[in-house]
Every structure is written in C-alpha cells, then in structure tokens.
Amino acid sequence: MSEFQSVCSVNDLIPDAGVNALVNGQQVAVFYIDGKVYAIGNYDPVGKANVMSRGMTGNIGDALVVAAPLYKEHYNLATGVCIENDALSVPVYEAKIENDVVFVKV
C-alpha cells in the first residue's frame, strides 16, 4: 500500500492554479482550489506530454475541472474523467493539507 508523502508547503501553491510534483517517480499535477488540494496525473493522454499542471482550472456545471493546455479538453479533478469524451481519463490521487503541508498518495 502506498503512503501519503509530503510534497511541498501550501505557500508553494497558487490559488486556482497548478504545480507539478515528482512523487515516487510519477509526475503529479497538484491544484489548489478553495483551500483544498486535488492531484491528478501530469500526463495529457491526448497531447501525449507531461503538461496537465499547466492547465487552467474552473468549473463546468458541478464539476471542478482543469483544461488540458495543449488541446483544451476538460478533466474532472475529482474523478479524472474527460468531460468531452468519457472514454478518456487521467489518474486521480488522494491529496490533503495538514499543518500547511501538502500530502499526495501515489
């Protein structure tokens, strides 16, 4: 079983934007929205490049999403599923903030 690993301080995050973290050799895109953190795989399955952390965040209906920066598909931050094409998805990782430290479980 994998464990939560500390990644960075909350101060390293920018509200409503993402950063890229290297956890267990995996690139993880971490987003900080309304005081909560969301972690998904940094690999864009359509653009085939490690860029998800550089996407813009927002909501579509009830879903919090990030727009892939290359071709602008939207992925649900909670489920990893692509809004435009539900056959596509990115991995979702558990993430939390404790004492101003960001943890991700990969």
Binding site: C8, I14, N20, L22, G47, V51, R54, M56, G58, A67
Partner: protein, 847 residues
C-alpha cells in the same frame, strides 16, 4: 449538347453582375459567354465613384475578382465596342471588326449623362461624371482651377459635389428645381439637407436655370442664370440626369420607348425574342431605372430564364438610403403624398438636425412613403412595412418619434416580416433566403454573407439581416447566447466596460459581483486579457497567474511536447551580428532547434521550462526583449529593406517598422496582431495581409487595416492615404484602442471589421472624423498603456519570486524527462514511435 452562345454587350455594373450570376447558376457549363467592354478596364463600382478622390484607386473600385474571366473561360473584348447587330443572322459586329454569332444576346449598354442644351456647354472645363476617365479629366481640371460647380442637385449631383469638394475646390451646386433631390425629398427634408451640406462648405443654389456659359474673368468659365446672376467657375460638371444608351438598339430596329430606352417586357425581352436588355438602357413599364439594384434584379430574371426557369421582372422599388457628404438620407415610396387624401406625420428636431416624415393612407392603416434626413436608422423598418403592405400601429407617428425611454422597442420585429420580404436589395436576398441559409447550417453573420451575399453590397441591410438571423436561430432552439460562458452573462465587450468603469483589477472581485461559480478557461483567459489591456496587469502576479493560458502564463509558446519556444523581439527584423551571435550561442548551449519563422523572427524551439529564466537572462543582458509571441498582442512588424538599400524604395520602411513595433509592443489586445511596412507598392512586406499595413507612396504612407493571412485570408482595406508618420500613429492609436474596446473574445481585426455595423466607412468615421467624440480618450488610454510597458522577461530576470514559476517540479530541483531525436544537425521532439523503439535521446546534456 453544344453550348448555348451568350453575348453580352456592355461590361458595366449590370453587365458584369449578369455574367457573375450566370457563372454561379446551375447550368453554367451549358453556356459559352462573350462580352464587349468599350472601356479600358473591366466593370467597376460607379455607385462609389466619388471615393476615387478620397483615396480609392481604380483597382479598389473594380468589381471583378482578378482572373474571374480567364478562370471561367469567358471571352472579354476589352476596348472594343459593339457597333452592329444582325438580328436575322444573329451576329454582333464590333468596332475592331470582330463578328460573333449568338444564341441569346444581352444588351447592358447602360446610360450616358444628360448634358442640358445650354450655350457654351462644350467649353473647356465643362465635364460629366460617369466613368473613371471622366474622373481623370475632372482631376486634371481641378489641378488647374479653384472653383467647381455641379449642375444638378439630385442624388448623383450631390455625389459629384462631394468629389469636387474632396479635390479641394470651392464647390457649388446649381439646381433648377426649388429644392435638392426633388424626386426623393419633400421641402422640409430638402431644406435640412441643404443646411447640412452648406455647413460642410458647399454652396447650394436652388431655382436656378443656367442660360449660357461663357468665358470667365476670374475663372475659366462664367455661368449666367435666368435671373441675371452670374457665377465664376473653373469646372462645370453636368449631373442633370441620365439617358439610356439605346443608339445601337435603335439602329438595328429594336423597339424603343417614345422618349428612348429599349422596350422590354416582364421577361426583359426586347422586341426580338432572342435579345434581352437589362439595366439603365432598358425601359420597363414606362420607367428606366437609374439605380443598380433593379438592374441586378433584371440580370437575375434573364439568368433564370436561360436556366429554363420562369422568372419575371415586375418593376422595382425606388426607395434609397445613402450617405450624401456624410449626411444620412432615406427616401421611401411616395414621399410627397401625391394621393391628395394621404396624411402625413412629421418629426423635426432642430438642434440635432433630424427630419423625418411618413406619408400614410387616409385611414392611417398603410404606409405610402417616407423621408428621412440626418438619421436614417428607421429606413429598413419603414421600407419593409411599405413593401410588405403591413398594417401600421394605432399611432403611426410612433414609428419616427425618438424612443427615449427605451420602451416600445421594435414595433415590427423580424418575425412580423413575410418570407418574401427582400432584405438585401443589392443582391436580392429575401427573408426566405436567410431562413434557408440558417437551415443549411449558417449560424453567424459571416456565414450568411458568404452563403447569400446579403450585406456585402452597400451594407445597409446588415442590422436587419442580423435580427432575422438571430430570431431564426432562436426559433430553432439554437440559443443566441452572447454570454461569454456559464459563469458570466456578459459579452467580452461588456466585461471590458464593467472592469473599466468599476476599476476592477482581479478575477475574484469580478466574478463575485458580476458572475457565478469558479470560472473556466474561457472567462479567465478573457478577463486576464482585459486586465492587461486596461491596467497592464502582469501575467506572473499571483492573482493573475490563474487567468493565463499556458502560453501567456509561461511567457512562451508551448510546443507539442510541452517545451517552449523562445522568440526575442527583433524590431523591424533588423538585427546586429553581435546579437545574432548571442542567439546562436544560446541555441547551442541549450540545444535549441533554430528556425526563422513566418514573421521574419528567429525562433529557438525546445526550451524546457526550468531553463527558460536562464536563457532569458542571457538574452536580456545582451539587450533583447520579449517578443511576446505567446501573447494576444503585437507579434511582429514585418518590413522590406526600404529606401536605404532598395533601388525602388520610396521611404525608409525599416525605420518606420522599428518605430511602429516599439510603439505598440506589449499592448494586449483581444487577439494577436501583426503589422507590416513596405517601402513601395511592390509590397515585399505583404502589409496588405496584416492587421495594420503601411505602404510608402510618393506623398506619404498609405494605411491599410484589418487584413489577415492565415486560415481565412482577408485583404486589408485601404483606410487613409498619403499620411505623415504622426497621422499614421494618431489613426493607428485610435483604431487599436477602439478594437480593444469593442472586439469580441479572440476576434482578429479582420472578423471584427466584417461584423462591425457600418463597416469600413463607420470605422473611418470614428477614427478619422472622431464621429463618436472619443478620439482623445482612445489616444490617452493608449498612451497610458505605452508608458506602463515593461519587458515581461526582464521582470522575471530581475525578480526571483517570478522565476519560481518556472521550476519543473515543486519538490525536486532536477528537470523533467524530455525526449528528443536528432535531425539535420538539430534536436526535435521524439515521436511516440521513436519513444517506444528507444531511439530518442533523453534529457539534454548541456554543453
């Protein structure tokens, strides 16, 4: 089946329009078309002839797309006039001796200007106004003289007066009738028009009959009037009406009307069933039409019949709307109330110089006519009411009274119109045609224009067509939603205005006051762009970072593999060897793929995100600035080498390009902008394919605007001619700010202009004549933005806080894995296949 041979005599507006329509018709491949053009150039726009003197060239006025005749295998005999027709043998003979047979003959010989039989009407300086050759003669005379008189105060006469006044002459209009435009206007409307035109410096003399033109004392000519008064003038320009050119028809025995004109029936057939006549040479039901729209309608009728369809011409409405010397004038139906029981309503607004009158039936139910001067906005509405015989509201005056409290609105919305209603008279497009276009998938005004041509003529119908389009889309459940996205029920223009007025500088404030939810990539990008355009907001400030698309946010264009391109600004494309060496050294050190791009700039590709600050530190220290190739902003100003080196250059295009680039660099706009400066009309910089283009002439700079290369090329429009550098900057400052203020999200200047109500003329009015009284504000806004310019990358180099954003990982200092392959001595991204086969190079080893 052998082809049907069609011969067209006359290559004026209507003759050409007929051929265009024939070529576009379904039976096109069944016809072999020949046409005679006695003028030295193919069909051109006579309606806007006076614009020849305000900067348009003969080419600008041309109605023929270059290559049109060749591509469609149409034989055109230039500079050759048809002089004889053998109706029995069915042949046409020309002045040059060509004889060709026809199956069907179309006469589109047009008209000639009527010169009143006044003694001395053939004196030097006595001219007419009809062809480009006439204009050249007028110009030559104007160069010698200082006073010009137009004889005739009708529609064409006033156009001609504009031409004389544009040439800088002291201009007079002499009208025989007691008022201007006696056919179209009533006394009240004409009086206001006279006042407005006189305010523009043109002297109007009504109720004047010229008796003789003789040698003048202070000028070349002297006109003597029946009342004994005289007027000294260099030019006498006759514009007293037109007469059909029916001499050839008469010679070969076709039936003419009692006062001339080739007699035609409802099929546009002459007395010989194989000969048609269309346009101003034809006489239909006792009327010769001096307007272009009925001519186009006749052309359509003949084209339909040649395609074996039934079609009839049943007369045309003579209503007109136009801008005469900047004054809006509209005339509908019978504006005089010739039916003596007719009733009228008049609205006259002295201070604002507006006159409106409607004439209605005695029972007040139907509209018979209208006159509009100073404000012709109601024209389309009123015209549709009359043409479609629609019932008037209980109080017909509501149609012309100002709607100040905003209530009421359109009394007759687009839904009230029947499908047969003609919306665009230039191209005869009905409401039904718009509906079919919507049914076949047109969703925007641009689609409609491309598919039906509606609105591409005079442009007067655009608003109405747009209303019909929106209403039809709504009916089909296509929500005509101008909302930016689900978070804002506003357009970009509205958000810009809101942010400006309320001085909003961050997204949280904006969305809490005017939107809902978290926002999305659409509204955030738009807002970030607006903040930059309004306040020079910097992309790497904490509250601006989430509003940036990846290119804007990382100050580079993201490539397909997630790396970025590095494009330093090289103003005007001029670069020193020293700087070129620095670029080479940086490229070598970071193993960047190097290429010259389409905008004459050197691009270094493949920079990894964590290397960007160091790369730019070297570049900034060598004196480079960010080229902003990632931003919705000025990209490059392309230039030729100009008069400094080129044997043909008229002006120093490189210096101009550098100044333009430095003036507008960093200015954030709704979309990217490209500019070009050419040192002569050879146009090596392709300035006419740019948002802003400058071409040097002997007398200064010609300014072209709203061009576009790319996916949908658009030739830029000539905006103003012979400008000084100061004038160029003044106009471009205003135009760009007006674009920033009013364009839609991600709308290039080309589409912006296409959708701008009133089009180029309106834009010229706003920018050159300051018709909205905002020029000063636009200029000062632009100046503030210019003063606040700072290089995006220098700020990163100077501030480690900003540089933090460019780490590959938030938790590790190493770069991310990135795979490349070598090709032609440089690195390029590895393909998926190459990655699988393991032939890609891993993370670059830095030299």
């Amino acid at each position: 089946m052998s082809k049907q041979k069609i011969v067209v005599i006359g290559n004026g507006m209507v003759g050409h329009n007929f051929i265009e329509k024939l070529v576009a018709s379904e039976g096109n491949q069944n016809f072999e078309v020949h046409t005679f053009c006695e003028e030295p150039r193919v069909a051109y726009d006579r309606v806007y002839l006076s614009s020849y003197f305000s900067g348009k060239t003969a080419e600008d006025l041309s109605l023929v797309t270059p290559g049109f005749y060749e591509e469609n295998n149409i034989k055109i005999y230039m500079n050759d006039k048809a002089v004889d027709i053998d109706l029995k043998a069915k042949t046409v003979a020309s002045e040059a001796g060509i004889i060709i047979g026809y199956d069907k003959l179309v006469m589109a010989t047009g008209s000639y200007p009527f010169v009143p039989p006044i003694k001395g009407n053939d004196r030097p300086g006595c001219l007419v106004y009809r062809t480009i050759e006439d204009l050249e003669k007028i110009q030559a005379e104007a160069d010698k003289g200082k006073v010009g008189v137009v004889v005739g105060g009708g529609l064409l006469g006033l156009e001609a007066a504009k031409a004389l006044s544009d040439l800088g002459l002291e201009t007079h209009v002499v009208e025989f009738a007691p008022r201007l435009m006696p056919v179209q206007l009533d006394d009240g409307g004409a009086a206001l028009l006279k006042r407005k035109i006189e305010n523009l410096g043109v002297r109007v003399h009504c109720s004047k009959a010229t008796t003789i033109i003789s040698e003048g004392e202070t000028c070349q000519n002297k006109m003597v009037f029946a009342d004994g008064e005289t007027l000294e003038t260099d030019i006498v320009l006759f514009s007293a009406g037109i007469r059909p050119r029916d001499d050839l028809a008469e010679k070969v025995g076709l039936t003419l009307g009692p006062r001339g004109g080739i007699l035609i029936d409802n099929q546009c057939q002459t007395s010989d069933p194989d000969v048609f006549a269309i346009g101003e040479c034809a006489l239909h039901d006792g009327i010769t039409y001096g307007l272009v729209a009925p001519g186009y309608a006749m052309a359509q009728v003949v084209v339909d019949q040649l395609n074996n369809k039934t079609a009839t011409f049943e007369g045309a409405d003579m209503s007109t709307k136009l801008k005469l010397m900047g004054v809006d004038v509209g005339s509908i139906g019978d504006p005089h109330g010739n039916d003596e029981d007719a009733l009228s309503y008049v609205y006259e607004n002295g201070p604002e110089e507006i006159y409106k009158k409607i004439v209605v039936t005695p029972d007040g139910k139907k509209l018979l006519g209208a006159v509009l001067v100073g404000d012709a906005e109601d024209f389309s509405n009123l015209l549709q009411i009359m043409l479609n015989d629609m019932d008037l509201p209980e109080h017909p005056d509501a149609l012309i009274l100002p709607n100040r409290d905003g209530g009421g609105g359109d009394l007759f919305g687009p839904d009230a119109l029947p499908e047969s209603a003609q919306l665009c008279s230039c191209y005869d497009v009905s409401k039904g045609d718009i509906i079919s276009a919507v049914e076949s998938g047109c969703c925007t005004m641009a689609d409609i224009k491309a598919s039906t041509q509606a609105g591409t003529g005079c442009g007067g119908c655009i608003q109405l067509v747009n209303n019909v389009l929106n209403s039809e889309l709504e009916k089909r459940g296509v929500e005509v939603n101008t909302d930016l996205c689900e978070h804002f029920a506003h357009t970009r223009q509205e958000l810009y205005h809101i942010c400006q007025v309320e001085e909003i500088k961050d997204f949280a404030t904006l969305i809490s006051k005017h939107g809902k939810g978290h926002g999305c990539d659409i509204c955030k990008q738009t807002t970030g762009n607006i903040f930059s355009s309004l306040w020079n907001a910097y992309a790497l400030e904490k509250d601006q970072i989430p509003l940036q698309d990846t290119n804007d946010g990382y100050l580079g264009n993201m490539q397909k593999d997630g790396t970025y391109s590095v494009i330093p600004r090289v103003p005007g494309g001029e670069i020193t060897p020293e700087k070129l060496i620095v670029l080479g050294e940086v490229a070598k050190k970071y193993k960047l793929y190097t290429k010259v791009n389409g905008g004459q700039r050197i691009v270094l590709f493949g920079a990894q995100i964590n290397d960007l600050p160091a790369i730019w530190k070297t570049l900034v220290e060598a004196g480079f600035e960010s080229g902003q190739a990632y931003a919705k902003a000025l990209r490059t100003v392309k230039s030729c080498v100009g008069s400094t080196w080129c044997r043909f250059g008229l002006d120093d295009s490189v210096t101009m390009a550098i100044e333009v680039e430095n003036r507008y660099k960093g200015l954030r706009s709704p979309h990217k902008m490209k500019m070009g400066v050419s040192g002569c009309t050879r146009e090596c910089a392709e300035a006419q394919a740019k948002d802003i283009g400058l071409i040097s002439t002997e007398n200064g700079w010609n300014l072209y605007v709203c061009g576009n290369g790319g996916m949908k090329p658009r030739h830029a429009d000539l905006f103003a001619t012979d400008l000084t550098k100061e004038e160029v900057f003044k106009y471009v400052d205003r135009l760009l700010m007006f674009y920033i203020k009013t364009a839609d999200r991600l709308q290039r200047t080309a589409t912006w202009l296409e959708n701008l109500e009133g089009g180029l003329a309106y834009l010229q009015d706003v920018v050159i004549n300051d018709s909205l009284n905002i020029a000063e504000e636009l200029e000062s806004q632009l100046q503030t933005l210019r003063e606040g310019y700072a290089c995006d990358w220098k700020r990163v180099v100077d501030n480690p806080e900003y540089a933090k954003r460019f780490r590959s990982f938030v938790n590790v200092d190493s770069p991310a894995e990135q795979l490349f392959v070598e090709e032609r001595g440089q690195l390029r991204p590895a393909t998926e296949d190459e990655k699988l086969k393991g032939i890609a190079v891993e993370v670059k080893e830095l030299v």
